[in-house]
Amino acid sequence: MRLNKLRMAAVVTAVAVVATVMPASQAATNKQLEIFTWWASGGEAAGLKGMTDVFVKANPNTPFVNATVAGAAGVNAKGVLVSRMAAGNPPDTFQAHAGQELSGYVKAGQVEDLTFLYKSEGWNKIFPAGLVKQLTTGGKIYSVPVNIHRANVLWWNPAAAKKAGITAAPKTLDEMLVDMAKFKAVGIDGIALAGNGDWAIAHLFDVVLLGSMGSAKYNGLWTGKTSWRGPDVKKAVDYMAKILAYGNSSKSLDWPDAGKLVTGGKAGFFIMGDWASSQWQSDGLKLETDYTWAPAPNNVDAGPVYMWLSDSFTLPKGAVNRDAGIAWLKVCGSLAGQDSFNPLKGSIAVRTDSDAKKYDSYLQAAMKEWKTDVLVGSTVHGVNYNNAGMAAYDSAVGKFYTGGAKDKTGLIASLVAALAASKA
C-alpha cells in the first residue's frame, strides 16, 4: 500500500512537472503577444479587430494583449511608448508611422531590422517597389506597413458646389482660388480649416507645397536639395496665405468638426487624408451624393501624385515574446491580414495583390492610383521628418495661421529650423 501511494505520488508529480514544463518551454518566447497601438475607436478599432481575428486563428495558443492608448494621431500613446522604450520594457510590437518617424528608435538601436521577414514572406516583390525603396534606410527596413492612406485628397459637397456654380474639380491651385471665391460669393466659406493642435493646418501646407512646386522639388525639401529659402517655397507660402484667407472663422476645430462644415454645406473644400471618407460613411453619408473627391490641385506634375502615409508595426529589441511579435508582423504583411484590416479602417492594402472587391468605390479608385501614381511622403504623418522635425514643422505652420497668415519671412525661418531639427 505504502509503495503504491509513493508510486502514485511520483506519477502525479511527474505529470505535474511535465504539464508545467511543457508549455513553459514554449512560453519563453511565445507566452502572449503584447501589442501597443492608438487604435481605440471607430473604424480603426474595427479594423484592428479584423486583423486580430486572423492572428488568433493562426496562433490559438498565444493570448492577445492590446495595450491601447487612445488619442488621435497617437499624441498620448507616443508619450507612454517613449517611457517604456527608455525604461527597457518594450511591448512585443508597437504601431508607428512608416518613415522617418521611426528614425529615433532606429538610431537608438531599439527596433530590429526586418529585412529577413521581407525576404521570407516575399514582401519585397508584393509591396510596390517605390514604397520599399522609401522604407529602406541604409539597406535595412524596420517596420511592416499594414495600410496606405492618401493625404492629398480634395473633398467637397456636390450640392454646395452646384450652388456656387462649380462643375469640375480644380486642377491647379489658381483654379482652386477662383472656385473658393465662387463659394464665398454664395455665402459659403471657401475651405474648411481644422486649427486645433496645428497638425491639420500643417497637413494642408504639405499639400500646398506639393501642388505649388511639384513632386520632384517637394521630395527635395526633406533632404535639403530644394532650398527652403528659395523662390519655390516663397510661392507656396503665398498660395497658403491666400487659401487660409478663405477659411472658416472658427480657428480651433478638430478635423471631424471641420469636415462637418463641408458635408453640411457650410464650407466648400476640405483638404484631408482619406480617413475622412470612412469617418463620413460611419456617419451614414454617401460617397458621390453627400461628398465627393479629387486628387488635390497640382500646378506642375503631368500625372497624378499620391502623397502617402502608412501605419506600420515594428519588432522592438528585447521584446519578451519575440516569436509572437514576428507572428504578428507576418499577419500584418499577409493578404488575409491586410484585406481584413483595411476595408474597415478606410485605407488600402500595401500589397499589390489585394482583393479590390472588398473595398468601396473610393478605395478602389485609390488602389488603382496607388499602383501607377508618383509617390511622395506626408510630412505631418511621419514619412519625411523625425519627431522633432515634425513637431517644429507643425508649430511653424500653426504660428503662421494664428498670426493671420501675415509673417511669411517668419514662417520660412521656422521651416528652415524644422529641417535642422529633423537632421539634428
Binding site: A108, Q110, D198, S249, S250, S252, K266, A388, G398
Partner: protein, 298 residues
C-alpha cells in the same frame, strides 16, 4: 503609572522612516536625477551619454524662440489668472460673509467647478470659446451677439495676442470658489468683538473692512497668492484639454512634454523642468520661511 517619557527616542523615527525614504527617493532623488540629466548630453533618443555638458542645455533655451514664447505665455497667463481669481474670489466671499440666506447652497455652487476634471472642463470651454463669428457664432460669441454686444466677439484663445488672457478665463472660473472658501474661513476666524468694538467707536462699514478686517486677512491673502501662483506655473492639463499642443497657447509645461516625448530630447526637457522648479521655488520658499517664522513667534 502613566508613562511620561518615551523610552526609545528612535521609536518615532522608525514610524516616519518609510515616508522619509519614499520622499527622499521619489521626490528629492528624482529631482537630483532630473538635474543631472539637464546637464548631460542626452539630447536625442539614441544618446546614452550622461557626461557633463555644462550649461549648454540652459543657454540653448535662451536662444530657443519656442521656449521664450512659452515662457512669455506662462507669465501673461499667471498675471491675469492670479489677479482675476483673487478679485472674484474676494468679491464672492464678501457677499457670503454677510450671512445671506442659503449660504450653504451658494458655497457649494461656487466650489463646484473645483470638482470637475480638467479635461472635461477643457473640452467644454473649448466649445464655449470657439472663435466663429457673426452668423456662424457659437458659445460665448453667440451669447454676446444675443445680448446685442456683437462688437465684443473675438477669437478668444485662438487670437494671436490675446490667447493667454482668454485661457485664464476657465482657470479663474474654476479656482474662484476655492479662493472664496479660503477668504470666508479667514473672515470667520476674526472675532466679532473686533467689529463690535469698531462700531461702538463709530467706524463706518467701509472703514471696518479697510482697517479692521482686511489687515487680519493678510496671512490668508498670502496663502492664496502662493497656492494660485504655484498652480499657475505648473498649468498643463487645462491648456492641453482646450488647445492641445497649439503654438498660440503653448506654456512651459506643454513645451516640456513636447520636448521629452515628441523630440525625445531628455536633456533639454530636464532643463525646462528645472526652470519650472526654480520659478515655483522662488514663489514658495519665502512663503514657507514666513510661515515657519510666524509659527515660532506663536
Amino acid at each position: 503609572m502613566k508613562r511620561k517619557h518615551v523610552h526609545n527616542p528612535w521609536g518615532g523615527f522608525f514610524f516616519v522612516l518609510p515616508s522619509i525614504l519614499a520622499i527622499a527617493v521619489f521626490v528629492y532623488g528624482m529631482i537630483g536625477w532630473t538635474l543631472k540629466l539637464s546637464f548631460s548630453h542626452r539630447t536625442n533618443a539614441w544618446s546614452k551619454d550622461n557626461s557633463f555638458a555644462g550649461l549648454s542645455n540652459y543657454t540653448g533655451l535662451l536662444e530657443d524662440p519656442e521656449f521664450t514664447h512659452a515662457f512669455g505665455n506662462l507669465m501673461k497667463f499667471t498675471v491675469v489668472f492670479m489677479i482675476g481669481t483673487l478679485i472674484s474670489g474676494l468679491i464672492m466671499s464678501l457677499l457670503l460673509e454677510k450671512g445671506i440666506k442659503g449660504e450653504g447652497l451658494f458655497r457649494s455652487i461656487y466650489l463646484y467647478p473645483m470638482a470637475i476634471s480638467f479635461i472635461a472642463m477643457g473640452t467644454s470651454w473649448r466649445w464655449l470659446m470657439d472663435s466663429a463669428h457673426d452668423d456662424k457664432a457659437t458659445g460665448l460669441n453667440m451669447v454676446l451677439r444675443a445680448a446685442h454686444l456683437g462688437i465684443l466677439q473675438n477669437d478668444w484663445y485662438s487670437s494671436e495676442k490675446g490667447s493667454m488672457y482668454a485661457m485664464a478665463l476657465p482657470a479663474i472660473w474654476q479656482m474662484s470658489g476655492y479662493v472664496m472658501a479660503l477668504f470666508l474661513a479667514g473672515f470667520r476666524g476674526i472675532p466679532d468683538d473686533l467689529r463690535e468694538a469698531a462700531r461702538v467707536d463709530g467706524a463706518s462699514e467701509t472703514k471696518i473692512y479697510r482697517h479692521i478686517l482686511f489687515p487680519q486677512l493678510k496671512p490668508t491673502f498670502l496663502t492664496v497668492l502662493i497656492i494660485l501662483g504655484h498652480i499657475s506655473m505648473k498649468v498643463f492639463d487645462l491648456i492641453y484639454g482646450i488647445a492641445s499642443k497649439s503654438y498660440v497657447t503653448k506654456v512651459l509645461a506643454i513645451y516640456l512634454w513636447q520636448v521629452i516625448f515628441d523630440f525625445q530630447n531628455f536633456a533639454k526637457g530636464s532643463a525646462i523642468a528645472m526652470v519650472i522648479l526654480v520659478i515655483i521655488a522662488v514663489v514658495v520658499i519665502p512663503y514657507l520661511r514666513y510661515v515657519n517664522k510666524s509659527e515660532e513667534m506663536k
